[in-house]
Amino acid sequence: MTHANSLPRGGVNPPDSSLISREAAIANAVVPSVAVIPMLQHSGRAAICVVKPGDLVREGMLIGRADGVRSANVHSSIPGRVVEVRRLPSQGGCDAVVIELGGEFDRSGKPRTLHGWEKLSRIDLLGKIQSAGVVGLGGELVPTHLKLAMTPGKTGSLLVANGIDCEPSLSADFALMREKPGEIVEALRICQALVGAARVVLALGEDAEGLVPEFERAFKRASLQCEIALMPSRYPQGNEQLVLSSLDGARPSGPRPSSVVLNVATLFAVYEAVVMDKPLIERVLTVTGMPVAAPRNLKARLGTPVGDLFDDCGGLTAQPGKIVVGGPMRGVAISSLDVPVTKGTSGVTAFAGAEARARREWPCIHCGICVEVCPWDLVPTRLHKLIQQGEVETAMSEGLGRCTECGCCAFACPSHIPLVDILRTGKRSRGRANDA
């Protein structure tokens, strides 16, 4: 076990309520009576819908076929009948299959069969992962078969299991590691067989130190040579690039071709895909926030409306002023409780009262706090002023492209300037100009 370096620079410590949500064990969320499953839940091209209204689907059946290699399959999370194929306005418009619950479950409540995988070839393993529709569940949603398809055994290569919850207040990864360490280690073995990295590391937050003994035992049982690196609990330590730079001490930079970082939730999905032949149809997420009666982690089926999750946590004790899919730092505020759970939903946060209201904005006072907290060596105040004056190209030359919209600058800004929003607008306007 090693204590890795902290974040090279920057980062913030927002109030963290994940301790409350992680106490209870993961509970199964109630199966939804209607599931809305979008065709685009990953980075890349949307899947092609292969069902039509009226079709009967089974639990785990393919309803969207990947459109090429840079895409992922989408499966039905409940048995039933396809009611309609709706057009969702989000994400530039994509189709979503609406399924009404009915019929028998193929997996839930049935005994599980575990399959061996050591005899499978590389192609077969990658094929299993690909057909199960496994994508990066830590936020980037990159199809996992692409990440694992690198040439095995590159010198200096690194395989990292990222067990650091990417946002404060979210504890889904922690809970999963606490309850399924064996499965995660097995998945790590599978990935190591595919990747053949020189070094395998499990990255944990310092507040997860209690999990270390269990994982050390699991590594011994699985005969997997794996280091455990403890990293300080500072947002955004869970970011992939920052995990890598904390491990090797270099400054955070662009993607490193010889390193593979996989979130533990993704690893669990890999395990289910390879060992249990189960497609990605459900995931663990955290439901939290002041107005939630009993914040906890839930295992929810994809397509469940977000409102159902609150019911599973004892309901809301106060009228919510804001509901966010994701965590408090990077989540997206939603306007209706019907928004479905997708592969990228790591949590749902509710805000009420003063927390939910927009904060009064003051002019920039040039205090430099945003510069101090940016983990990417950017100067957010200067970038936002450049963008407001239309000088997006100058902003790009000063590093706007490196911005990951982590939100540290806007969190720390005493004038409550919506820096992330402005920087994102700048990046998008350039993208549009490039497409034109």
């Binding site: 913030v12 927002p14 109030p15 209607v34 009611v83 309609e84 009404e100 270099a250 400054r251 955070p252 930079s253 662009g254 490193r256 409102g307 009228q319 919510p320 002023g321 804001k322 509901i323 966010v324 994701g326 730092m329 989540g331 997206v332 505020a333 939603i334 306007s335 209706s336 409780l337 019907d338 805000f351 927390e355 939910a356 209201r357 927009a358 904060r359 003051w362 002019p363 006072i365 040039h366 205090c367 430099g368 510069v371 101090e372 990417w376 060596d377 100067v379 200067r382 000063e398 590093g399 919209e405 939100g407 806007a410 969190f411 800004c413 005493p414 004038s415 409550h416 992330v420 994102r424």
Partner: protein
């Protein structure tokens, strides 16, 4: 067909963008806390100089607030809530001698708000500290009135009329002025308080005599602030108390004031002795740091975030530069204590520092790329 669009309308939901949390420190709170940190020094000034000091501070505050109200009405904004107008008024008032005719602080505060801040776009857009701009305007316009010093307190305290720095200046020009600054002052008839006399002699007799060191007469007065001067600048301990509070809450970044005072003290120590016939490394750094408005300006005006550099390195360079400029202006110039003008000059250089240091930042990040 069952209703598949269950719209559970939870009422109106806020759709503002991420992040959905904010740090508790807000700009307006920061500014009001700076004003709060100045209160101990202001109270001391009122205690020393009496009702005239109150009149000056109140006039300055009113002028600042009225100017801010009037000019922000033009832009249809109400900006008094952010506390910067009040702070400017308070700072201008504290930088005035207590005996100054009231039109001086009024004009200085109005100038600071209208010309230095509002004409350039309001809070955050000024490139010069507004209070300091107003004070320098007053220094240039009414130099006579700005150097009319009332005695500190009643007859029981020090009855000297000139602040220590001005008195030193005139004493040093006379022949035969040798020794530490305070010794020069004493030998030229500068009167310190009786309390100071008794404390210093007790210390010399009982604590310092084994070390063969002596504390110059007047040390207690200078350190505590029983001397004439501008209303808010005399009491170093109370100012430092306020400043420590602000630094601990990370409202004022310590790099600029510390670099400023340290550089100035070092230079004063190395070179300042020549005036008093003492040679190298024997200037009176403590005397020079405590006299004039150095402490007040270094912590409350040089540390103002709007007119300091963004990067930490920039802050060090800026603070050091200010120390150097103040040293040159005070020892070799004729502009009083030299602090106000040197900070204004430094303010002019801040955008340059920002630009120079920003160019380096992307290169630093590039070095680590794989």
């Amino acid at each position: 067909m069952p209703d598949t669009s269950t719209s559970r309308a939870p009422g109106r939901l806020n759709l503002s963008p991420a992040p959905h949390l904010g740090a508790s420190l807000s700009t307006s709170r920061m500014t009001w806390l700076v004003s709060l940190a100045l209160v101990p020094a202001a109270v001391w000034g009122v205690f020393l100089f009496g009702f005239p000091a109150v009149r000056v501070i109140v006039t300055s505050l009113c002028a600042a607030l009225i100017s801010e109200l009037a000019s922000s009405a033009l832009f249809r904004r109400f900006t008094l809530g952010d506390g910067s107008g009040f702070l400017t008024g308070l700072l201008v008032g504290l930088m005035m001698p207590a005996g100054v005719p009231l039109y001086v602080p009024a004009a200085a505060a109005a100038f600071g708000i209208l010309v230095v801040k509002q004409s350039f776009g309001g809070l955050g857009r000024n490139w010069m500290n507004p209070a300091l701009g107003g004070v320098v305007f007053a220094l240039l316009s009414w130099s006579g009135a700005m150097t009319r010093w009332p005695a500190a307190g009643g007859a029981s305290m020090s009855t000297a009329v000139l602040p220590p720095l001005e008195a030193l200046r005139s004493a040093v020009s006379a022949p035969g002025a040798v020794g530490r600054p305070l010794d020069i002052l004493s030998s030229h008839g500068y009167v310190f308080s009786s309390l100071d006399g008794s404390i210093v002699s007790w210390l010399n007799a009982h604590i310092l005599s084994p070390f063969h060191a002596t504390l110059a007469g007047g040390s207690f007065d200078i350190i505590v602030g029983y001397v004439p001067g501008r209303i808010g600048e005399v009491s170093a301990p109370l100012l430092l108390l306020g400043a420590a509070f602000l630094v601990s809450r990370r409202i004022v970044r310590w790099q600029v004031p510390v670099a400023f005072v340290a550089t100035f003290a070092f230079l004063a120590w190395v070179f300042g002795g020549f005036a008093g016939g003492q040679g190298w490394f024997s200037g009176g750094p403590v005397f020079h740091v405590l006299s004039g408005s150095l402490i007040l300006s270094a912590f409350f005006m040089a540390g103002d975030p709007v007119t300091s550099p963004l990067a930490s390195t920039g802050k060090w360079i800026y603070g050091t530069g200010l120390g150097l400029l103040t040293f040159l202006l005070r020892f070799y110039g004729s502009l009083g204590d030299g602090v106000a003008v040197s900070i204004l000059l430094g303010n002019c250089a801040v955008p340059l520092l920002d630009t120079l240091l920003q160019q380096r930042m992307p290169a630093r990040a590039r070095k680590g790329s794989g």
